[in-house]
Amino acid sequence: MLDKISETRNNFDDDLSKVSDLNSLEDVRLKYLSRKGILTQFFEDFKSVPNDQKKLVGQSLNNLKTHIQEKFDSLKSEIESRTNLQKQSDIDLTLPGRTYQVGSKHLITQTMDEVKYIFKGLGFSLFEGPELESDYNNFTALNFADDHPARDMQDTFFVTPNFVLRTHTSPVQIRVMQNMKPPIRAIMPGKVYRNEVISAKSYCLFHQVEGLYVDTDVTFAELKATLVAFLKQFFGKDVVYRFRASFFPFTEPSAEMDVWWQPKGKEGRWLEVLGCGMVDPNVFINVGIDPEKYTGYAFGMGIERTAMRKYGIDDIRILFDSDIRFLKQF
């Protein structure tokens, strides 16, 4: 009987090696594992094995059963998974996926968000203000003298002699300082207007971000350090910049910051990116803050120009044309 068992084991291995699909595997099952199969027959025969041999034969028979069952199971699952794969290949996986529509924020919003994100990281709050402003908030409170040529620096849309479309976000400074006590640390983004002929270079409106910090010991050196930190985060660590004296009625000393712009294959040049300075004492007096006790800095920058430079847009009008072919690019 032991010989028969070992012979069966070899036969089974042999039979199994010839199996190629589930059908031929089923034949093997019928031959060995079914109710009328070889194994069942062996266990029938086992009953008549003499008692003294029972232990040895029994062991060997059990081994054979385990061997056959395991080999069979493993081959079965292998063939099944192979068949599943074959089923899958009935699908044309190269078909494109179903579309999900996702829109996008306007490029100006995206750029503004970047600027906001940096300044919020530097501990600034964020305030907004109206676009149709009083002449007082837009000019007078900001130390623009009546009849001074400084008023010509910004071409203004008037609604009445005393109401204007704000020419900068600086009037929000006035509103914030009128309503809060120092310390004040805030940026003020928004839309501003200039009465200029519309061209590739200029539009009748654009967006600015204004910044203001008022406290007891705010200095010009800190202003420079803050803005340098901003430039490095926005344009990259290697940005080349300069801090240059300038003039704004509402700051003194005043400065502008330029970054070095080096287009490929062209001559490099300085491009102005922002204006800034220490809040003029007259502005503090106009909003009831003591200029002897408090000092402060303010800064402002245009968003469109920055975005255009960053993305290589040479005509500002495309930003306001609402052309979906443009919008989808960003």
Binding site: G103, S104, H106, A150, L165, F220, R242
Partner: protein
């Protein structure tokens, strides 16, 4: 403003300082150099040539063939000039040079069969003068091969400097030189004035009377008699041309020269055309007519300050002279005007007349009342130098109330308080002294300085601190690597809109930004608009009262480029008048923030997995409510259908317990047509302020359901015109709190149901968060619904 480096050297020694350094330091000090123009660039590829040999051209009588040595090699050159001779030093343009007068790049050429490599140039061809009689013959001592720009003195460098409106003092070469002298700590040299004055006194030959001393605090006249009007000498023409001025005649050129030298505008009158040899400074009569130098007739106002003679106006003070007294080729006797006018008066007149001149530009920014005498004398000296004549002694100086120079104090402690870094005291004093301030008083803690007459921008301590900072150098400001920040609560007023944008983009919408300025007809069609006093054009004359026209225009623009499937939104301000009266305060108008959402075209374009489908009002409702429910999860938004809207049909309103939020619907055909749109557009306009006013309860976590939900499906056959919303309402009313959701999942219409009937099928969801429901109690609920709906609408349970 253009500043010539060669000219600057008359007032300051710039030796050893590189051009780059000058440009950089001036810019950083607030005199931004926008452009550096190198004159010699024009003469690239031009050298001093030596005519080694001259032969007649074999095929042309008037031409010659020369061999020109350019210092390194010899060239065959065909020349047409009659005066070219062997042995001359000439201006030689090599192949590749661009001829200034023509702007043409020189190539090698074959002229009547002879090869020519280059060109011997005339003064006209070089752009040096109009002389084209022959070639320019240079001094024979000039070295062959030398750069032509150096040889003809065209080697100036001109800086184009942007002068901010506060720096009237920098609108001249001496003004720029003064800043350079402070920056580089070098002496500022004023030209010495030396001339022979005659025995005759200016004041005996002309008189000055100031009637309006407020607007004309000082007026100086000086007489130069017997001048010969003619062309200016080369040095003067070169200086004026270098900064882009056109020479006119020697006397006028001198007045322009002095203006650009020291910043004092001057005027030269033909003394013989001044009736009574008298100047009267007074205001014009209302609507008086006057013809200015540019031959234009101007209508004056009684606020315009005029320079008059005994009878009539002869110049608009500080703006422009008159035709009736200008210097002409026949002028013999000249009265030089050097005055100081009230800046505000000049600005008003110049602005009203739309006439900005070199003079008005300086006077309205504030000229130097103390330089007037020097400038008059300087002009007299130069007129005599270039036009001859006799300088009458002394000046007529009408100066009724001499202006006292102002002073300002500077506390040392404030310098570091404002700047955040120390500037040494000697440094501070040097800077101020070099800029022309005189130290009046000095103590341990502060100094008091006298402000020079040319610095109208300086009055206060802070102004002095700025002077110190900008001359010390903004690039030397330390970047303190530590930034202080307040630890107050941080506020972000833009966070709400940021969230709105995030949700809408995630729903597939693109943000647009449109012009807030619209034309009148559009503005009135969409609201009660606010008009602008000074619009740029009639296309942008009013503030938008609504976001709708901008959105429809955006849709229209895209349709024109065949982009037909659009999902847009815009957040922006809209402006409306409250009453018809003039706006005098913020209460007379509204400025509101709106959100507009638009859908048009196909929701799905035909795909392998779906048929195409056009957007309809349910896409709009879906978008709006998905947006709102994402924005406020715990707020109930109600829809109303009894709204009427001017612009839409299929309209619906959106409200909450806090009030109306907005409106949505399909744009009416007439408004579609107005914007040339030929497909349906669905629009919702929401008020951002109303959205912000919603008080959202604090979100709380809800325990997850531990017991099973039970679903029942139910379909009713109803009259066709029964609204689904009403049926849902009745179902809700007939149910207990065990019913949590009603979903309309099928609408079916067919004759098989009966005429004008439809079937609505609902799925009802029941559960209780504290126990498992029994079949019996759900069935009870269910039966009650069937009964009520049948009774209310005369409906029939379908399939029953």
């Amino acid at each position: 403003m253009k500043i010539s480096i060669n000219w600057l050297r008359d007032y300051i020694d710039l030796s050893g300082i590189s051009l780059d350094e000058i440009v950089h330091k001036l810019s950083v000090a607030g005199l931004e150099v926008e452009e550096v123009i190198d004159q010699s660039k024009v003469f690239e590829n031009f050298v001093v040539g030596y005519v080694k040999e001259k032969k007649k051209h074999p095929n042309a009588d008037k031409l010659s063939v020369c061999i020109v040595d350019d210092g390194t090699s010899e060239h065959n050159v065909v020349c047409g000039a009659p005066n070219v001779e062997q042995g001359q030093k000439v201006a030689f343009a090599k192949v590749g040079a661009v001829i200034p007068s023509e702007g043409i790049k020189l190539a090698k050429a074959k002229i009547r069969g002879e090869q020519s490599f280059g060109m011997i140039c005339s003064e006209k061809e070089l752009g040096l003068s109009d002389n084209h009689e022959g070639i320019l013959v240079l001094d024979s001592n000039i070295e062959t091969g030398k750069n032509l720009a150096d040889a003809v003195g065209q080697n100036d460098i001109v800086l184009d400097i942007a002068i901010t409106p506060n720096r009237a003092d920098a609108l001249s070469h001496i003004g720029i030189a003064r800043d350079l002298s402070a920056i580089f700590k070098r002496e500022l040299k004023f030209p010495e004035i030396k001339f022979k004055e005659s025995q005759k006194k200016s004041s005996d030959y002309a008189k000055v009377e100031i009637v309006d001393a407020v607007n004309c605090p000082r007026y100086i006249g000086k007489v130069v008699n017997g001048v010969t009007i003619g062309e200016s000498p080369n040095w003067l023409k070169t200086k004026l041309k270098s900064i882009g001025l056109r020479p006119i005649n020697n006397v006028v050129d001198v007045t322009n020269f002095v203006l650009y030298e020291v910043g004092q505008p001057l005027h030269a009158f033909d003394l013989d055309n001044l009736t009574g040899e008298k100047i009267v400074v007074r205001c014009a009569s209302e609507d008086e007519k006057f013809t200015t130098l540019d031959s234009k007739e101007r209508i004056l106002k009684s606020t315009d300050l005029m320079i008059c003679d005994a009878e009539k106006p002869v110049a608009i003070a500080g703006v422009m002279g008159g035709e009736n007294s200008e210097v002409t080729p026949s002028t013999k006797n000249v009265l030089i005007e050097s005055a100081y006018f009230n800046p505000s008066s000049i600005r008003k007149t110049a602005k009203r007349l739309g006439l900005s001149t070199d003079a008005s530009y300086r006077f309205e920014r504030g000229s130097d009342f103390n330089i007037t005498q020097w400038a008059a004398r300087r002009a007299a000296q130069l007129i005599q130098e270039v036009a001859g004549g006799e300088i009458y002694s002394g000046e007529i100086d009408a100066y009724p109330t001499p202006i006292t120079l102002k002073t300002a104090k500077l506390r040392y402690s404030r310098i570091s308080k404002i700047l955040g870094y120390e500037v040494s005291l000697p440094n501070v004093k040097d800077i101020l002294k070099n800029l022309g301030f005189t130290i009046k008083l000095e103590s341990e803690n502060e100094i008091e300085v006298i402000i020079p007459g040319y610095r109208h921008d300086i009055e206060r301590e802070i102004d002095l601190i700025e002077e110190v900072a900008r001359i010390y150098g903004y690039d030397l400001i330390p970047e303190i690597n530590k930034v202080s920040t307040t630890l107050e609560d941080k506020i972000d007023q833009s966070a709400f809109n940021d969230n709105v944008r995030n949700i809408l983009t995630s729903l597939g919408f693109y943000e647009i930004m449109t012009n807030s300025l619209v034309k009148e007809s559009t503005a009135y069609r969409f609201g009660s608009p606010i008009k602008m006093l000074n619009p740029q054009s009639s296309e942008m004359s009013h503030l938008r009262p609504s976001l709708l026209p901008g959105m429809l225009q955006a849709v229209s623009n895209n349709l024109k480029v065949n982009e037909k499937n659009l999902k847009f939104f815009e957040i922006g301000k809209v402006f409306e008048k409250i009453s018809d009266s003039e706006i005098t305060s913020f209460d007379d108008f509204t400025e509101k923030e709106h959100l507009i959402i638009a859908l048009t075209g196909k929701e799905i374009e035909t795909e392998w997995y779906a048929q195409d489908r056009r957007e309809d009002v349910f896409d709009l409702k879906g978008a709006v409510y998905n947006f709102l429910n994402k924005l406020y999860r715990a707020t109930e938004f109600k829809t109303t259908y009894d709204v009427t809207d001017r612009f839409t049909e299929q309209s619906f309103g959106i409200t909450t317990e806090f009030g109306n939020i907005g409106i949505g619907g399909k744009i009416k055909t007439e408004f579609q047509q107005l914007f040339d749109i030929n497909q349906e557009v669905f629009i919702a306009i929401l008020e951002v302020d109303s959205l912000k006013a919603i008080l959202e309860p604090q979100r709380k976590f809800k325990e997850l359901l531990k017991f099973p939900k039970v679903y029942r499906d139910i379909a009713f056959v109803l009259e066709k015109d029964v609204e689904s919303d009403k049926v849902i309402g009745v179902i809700k009313e007939a149910s207990s709190k065990l019913l949590h959701q009603i979903k309309l999942f099928d609408i079916f219409q067919s004759d098989s149901l009966g005429k004008d009937k439809k079937s609505l099928a609902f799925q009802l969801e029941y559960y209780d968060s504290s126990r498992t429901l029994t079949e019996d109690e759900v069935d009870k609920e269910f039966r009650k619904i069937i009964q009520t709906v049948e009774k209310t609408f005369g409906a029939q349970l379908r399939g029953a």
